[in-house]
Structures are given as C-alpha cells and as structure tokens.
C-alpha cells in the first residue's frame, strides 16, 4: 500500500462516516458537522490525487473546497440559529413546513 492509496481509503472512510452521520442523526448541528466531514474527505482525495500526479491543481481544489466548507458552515449555522429562534428546536424532523 502506497501512502496515496492509504489516503484515498481514508478519504473514502471519512466521506462514508459523514454520509452516515447525515443520514442517521436528526440534530441539525451534528448533521452540519457530518457534512464538514464529507467535504474534508473530498479534500483529502484531492490532495492524494495531486500527490499522485505531481500537479498543484489538486491543491487549488483543496483550497476551493476549504472555502466552500467555511461558507457552508457560516450560512448553515445562521440558518440553524434562525430556525432555533423560530421553533426553539434543532431537530430536523420538526422543520416540516416551508411557511413560518
């Protein structure tokens, strides 16, 4: 096993754990954290393929992925705070109507 394939396996595992968290947990905060984990897995795959090909475009992908994760965290937490103010809960199953 080369380091690259180990990193690829790790990224797949991170992505799978994040997907499981998104699917299983109903607390919005934990769902958001699992989403971060999935993005992180994708970033790790970017870095691994960049190392494999000796190409810095993969690192550009990592940087873009990091910014997407940061933006997603900011907006997602804003939405969660607004929802909590509205319904006093962070349970995903309770947000089942579009209009307030």
């Amino acid at each position: 096993m080369t380091p690259v394939s180990i990193a690829l396996l790790l990224s797949a595992a991170l992505f799978a754990i994040g997907a499981a968290g998104v699917l299983i947990r109903r607390n919005l905060l934990v769902v958001l954290m699992s989403l971060e984990l999935m993005l992180n897995g994708a970033n790790l795959a970017f870095a691994a393929f960049a190392r494999m090909r000796g190409d810095s475009w993969g690192h550009v992908g990592v940087i873009v992925g990091l910014s997407v994760a940061a933006a997603e965290a900011a907006v997602g937490l804003g939405i969660i705070l607004a929802c909590h103010r509205h319904l006093n809960s962070v349970d995903a199953d309770r947000f089942n109507q579009l209009r307030g």
């Binding site: 990224s11 299983i24 873009v64």
Partner: protein, 142 residues
C-alpha cells in the same frame, strides 16, 4: 458522529480534522495542511461550538436516531470505496513529487497564474456567504 451530545461530536471533529491535516503533510501538501488547521480547526469548529453553546439544548432534544439508514450509509461507503479503487487503477502513479511541490511558493505561483479564476470565484463565494450569514443572524425587525 456516534457521540450523543453535539459538543462531544465537535471535539471529535477537531481530532479528526487535525489528523487529516497531518495526512496533508504526509502527502507533501504543506500549504493545504496549514490552511486546513487555520480554517477548519480555527474557524469552523469555533463557530460550531459557539452555536452549540448559544442554543441551550434541552435534554430530550439531544438525539434520536433510526436504524434503517445505516444500511444506506454503508452502501454509499462501499460504493465509494469501489469507485476510488478503480480510479486508482486508472491514474498512473508518478512516484516521487517534484522539488518544492505543495509549498507556499508553488501554491502562490499556481493560484496567481493559471488558477486565478477559481481563486477569484472563491473570494466571491466567501463574500456572498458573509453577507448571507449577517442577514440570517440578524434579529427579525417587527
């Protein structure tokens, strides 16, 4: 992910993100590792922790979980593993990295040269996210 309380999940998230920063270092991506530590561990986890503490979670809201989606999640993970394995066969491994690969200098050259467009799009995305976060976080005027 398996922890019951979100703050424990956040602390585990810190651990796993730091570990993957170390993986970036092992993949000779030092700039990406530094950005990972600063952005994820420094910013995102702090935001998450603040949100958890602001929300004052009640005991019953902590968590419920189902059984059925576990199979779906395991399926997704297995499929992804298979796809990545076949991709590894498709891409030829070039072996050792070039001199200075992944350093800040090299990254700056790439970001300011051929990769200028994604870089600028990223800054646009960050501005949009900042505005959206401010608008969402504002208390509603009656």
């Amino acid at each position: 992910m398996a922890s019951r309380h979100p703050i424990r999940s956040a602390l585990w998230l810190v651990l796993s993100l730091t570990a993957s920063a170390v993986c970036y270092l092992l993949l000779s991506a030092s700039f990406a590792a530094a950005a990972q530590v600063v952005v994820y561990v420094g910013a995102i986890v702090v935001l998450v922790t603040f949100a958890i503490m602001l929300l004052k979670l009640k005991g019953d809201a902590l968590d419920r979980r189902g059984r059925a989606p576990v199979a779906v999640a395991v399926g997704i993970g297995a499929g992804l593993l298979a796809a990545l394995a076949s991709a590894m066969k498709a891409v030829p491994a070039t072996g050792t990295a070039a001199e200075g690969f992944g350093t800040v200098k090299e990254m700056g050259r790439t970001l300011m040269g051929p990769a200028l467009l994604p870089f600028e799009l990223t800054s646009l995305l960050l501005v949009a996210a900042m505005v959206a976060a401010v608008v969402l976080g504002r208390k509603k005027e009656a």
